[in-house]
Symmetry: C2
Subunit: 203 residues, 2 copies
């Protein structure tokens, strides 16, 4: 690209560092900002720098939070004996949106992935084990995505927790509500038959 301005070039280069944003999209976004009042860009820039400077991770569940202990961990209405293990903050948001879960979370910060160089010690597994060791946890629910990395991570954590007398469970895999059977993949359909539940429980 043949930039007429070094400032423009620098901004486009910075924006195109973001994942999934190429040079052309970056140029479109930056030109959009130039058409807006200057104050909008200042608001955008401030919100980003304030975020990265002031954000905390909850000391208990490692979720993104504005305070030391996040709203979920400090809520008295929640059952602290059940811990749901998730990959990142997006999974917490997704489960919270269902309004079906009243336990606490434990955010791993990723999945074990030798290819990406992520080992168990890059995740918050140790702190989960410590929580269980203290004897205050009755059930750990694994809610990682069902990929090879997710399954490996589940299994690794399961092995760490095996010696403590707690219940471990994993979220149900099956046909999504509203989906047609004929379009489901075989593995999911197979699991949904193996893991069938009493009809009265589905009502």
């Amino acid at each position: 690209m043949n930039f007429s301005s070094k400032l423009l070039e620098k901004a486009v280069n910075e924006v195109s560092q973001l994942p999934g944003i190429g040079k052309r999209t970056a140029l479109r976004l930056v030109l959009h900002l130039l058409k807006q009042p200057t104050i909008n860009t200042h608001h955008l820039a401030n919100s980003l720098t304030t975020l990265v400077d002031e954000i905390k991770l909850c000391k208990q569940c490692h979720n993104i939070s504005d305070v030391e202990i996040c709203e979920i961990c400090s809520a008295v209405s929640r059952n602290s004996e059940i811990i749901c293990v998730v990959e990142d903050v997006r999974d917490v948001m997704a489960i919270e949106n269902t309004a079906q879960y009243k336990g606490l979370y434990h955010v791993l910060g990723g999945k074990i992935s030798p290819i990406e160089g992520i080992g168990p010690h890059n995740l918050t597994i140790e702190s989960l084990v410590e929580k269980v060791q203290k004897g205050l946890v009755k059930e750990v629910i694994f809610a990682l995505s069902s990929t090879i990395e997710g399954d490996t991570t589940n299994f690794y954590i399961f092995k760490q927790l095996e010696k403590y007398q707690i219940k471990t469970s994993t979220i149900a895999r099956g046909i999504a509500v509203g989906d047609e059977l004929e379009y489901a993949d075989e593995v999911t359909l197979g699991r949904s038959i193996l893991n069938r539940i009493p009809f009265e429980n589905s009502l």
Copy 2:
């Protein structure tokens, strides 16, 4: 969305103001920034605020520039008697990339579009007419996109310049180099036949 942090929510809301970026993409981008070193986000934020605070429009061609008169307008090697009228800086960059044009530009800043509330007075048409009035321009090339708005804008400017004895031209429309005839639309193919050029000129 159920945010666990006000700072995160604010940043996601700001990023999702950008065109073509929804809440989910904004969340993905912001979480990416949180995984990077803090300094990266500061660089990004600084490059954007510096851009909007310090960018100038060239006083001659209205192109985005770091200085009062842009590199193209101030280059002695360029032919200042030919002016190519374009919509915005991206068009200047596209034409510059061809290395085929040695005249100057005039950036309109948009196209006449009653639907979007953009009239001739929101564009830099007046300053183009002034340039022509001074008698230093010999040819004006229209290089707007061939949409209704583009054609309207071309025609409006053409009418303004009619009384001055200058040449006006428009970039050639036709089959793109490398394209198959059978897939070309009829309008383009029709124009390419009407506006055929002597074979020896195409060599």
